[in-house]
């Protein structure tokens, strides 16, 4: 994402004034990430596309009232995550935004202690590994998944992630630690199998 342009104040003024080319530019810079967020949170193409369209429709409508209290990026992702969570709520009763702030899960001690960092690079970037990365992330609860996606995949800061989700930074941190540790466990188990099961790294 071209953060420089998105942060540019002149560009934001153009957006607020309803400049359609600027809005196209905003889509250009952000839509792939918004769609990826939708895929991560909602898990299927149809819902991700619905969320993508609703996000920009709402943004288009709300832009004249944008007050520049946050960056345009953070603001847009806030709309997107709200959309995604609303769709999720429709599908799964029981999940709500409040749950993202609750500490209802216990921290688990690391179980897999194996240094797989030395595995060959092609092992790490294979299509199979990529599929496994997606599967592992899909196993996280939505609350953890969304924090991990924003923070570690999309590269938002802790403060920005807190702003996007409307929770405090400590809650972001707690969720992030859990998500990271769970994923590390999954990856370690996967790479343990690769190292022990026929991948000759001698």
């Amino acid at each position: 994402m071209n953060a420089e342009t998105v942060r540019d104040e002149g560009f934001v003024d153009l957006l607020i004034s309803g400049d359609r080319q600027a809005f196209s530019e905003l889509i250009e810079q952000t839509s792939a990430k918004i769609y990826a967020l939708g895929m991560r949170v909602l898990g299927n193409e149809q819902d991700a596309e619905d969320m993508l369209q609703e996000t920009y429709l709402k943004a288009l409508k709300a832009l004249p009232n944008f007050e520049k209290r946050s960056s345009i990026n953070t603001w847009l992702f806030r709309i997107a995550t709200n959309e995604a969570l609303m769709l999720l709520r429709k599908k799964k009763t029981g999940f709500n935004m409040v749950a993202i702030d609750q500490s209802d899960e216990e921290d688990e001690a690391p179980f897999e202690i194996l240094d797989w960092c030395c595995l060959p690079e092609q092992e790490m970037v294979s299509a199979e590994t990529r599929t496994m990365l997606n599967k592992a992330a899909d196993q996280l609860s939505p609350a953890l998944r969304i924090v991990f996606q924003l923070r570690d995949v999309d590269g938002f800061s802790g403060q920005e992630t807190a702003e996007i989700l409307g929770i405090n930074e400590d809650a972001v941190k707690t969720r992030l630690v859990r998500a990271r540790l769970k994923l590390r466990e999954e990856l370690s188990a996967y790479f343990r199998d690769r190292m022990e099961g026929g991948v000759n790294h001698a």
Binding site: R20, Q21, F23, S24, I27, E28, S31, A32, K33, Y35, A36, E45, E49, L52, Q53, Y56, L57, L60, D107, A109, P110, F111, I113, L114, D115, W116, C117, M124, V125, T129, R130, L133, A137, F148, D152, V153, D154, G155, K173, T174, L176, V177, R180, L181, L183, R184, L187, S188
Partner: protein, 88 residues
């Protein structure tokens, strides 16, 4: 997990550590623990690598063409890629 009870306390710090967000005092204390504890060193290394692998997947994020054209159509906007206003 054998002998790992006291390491549990370091987990949150380890996450902050890979983000470079620890105060110098806490950082020094964690680093002195890491010197002695191989298990925690492995957790640090593999945690860092885990984050890197996921972060790298974002580079391949792409909007499928059909999704893209339906989005522009829904918003009544001209798709710059289709209209050829600016090609890149």
């Amino acid at each position: 997990m054998h002998e790992h009870g006291h390491c549990q306390a370091y987990l949150k710090q380890i996450s902050d550590y890979v983000d470079g967000e620890l105060s110098s005092e806490v950082c020094a204390s964690l680093e002195s623990h890491l010197k002695e504890c191989e298990n925690c060193r492995i957790v640090v290394n593999t945690l860092r690598k885990t984050i890197d692998l996921y972060h790298d997947t974002a580079e391949n994020d792409d909007l499928p063409d059909k999704v893209r054209s339906r989005l522009f159509a829904r918003l009544n906007l001209e798709d710059p890629k289709q209209g050829g206003i600016h090609g890149s």
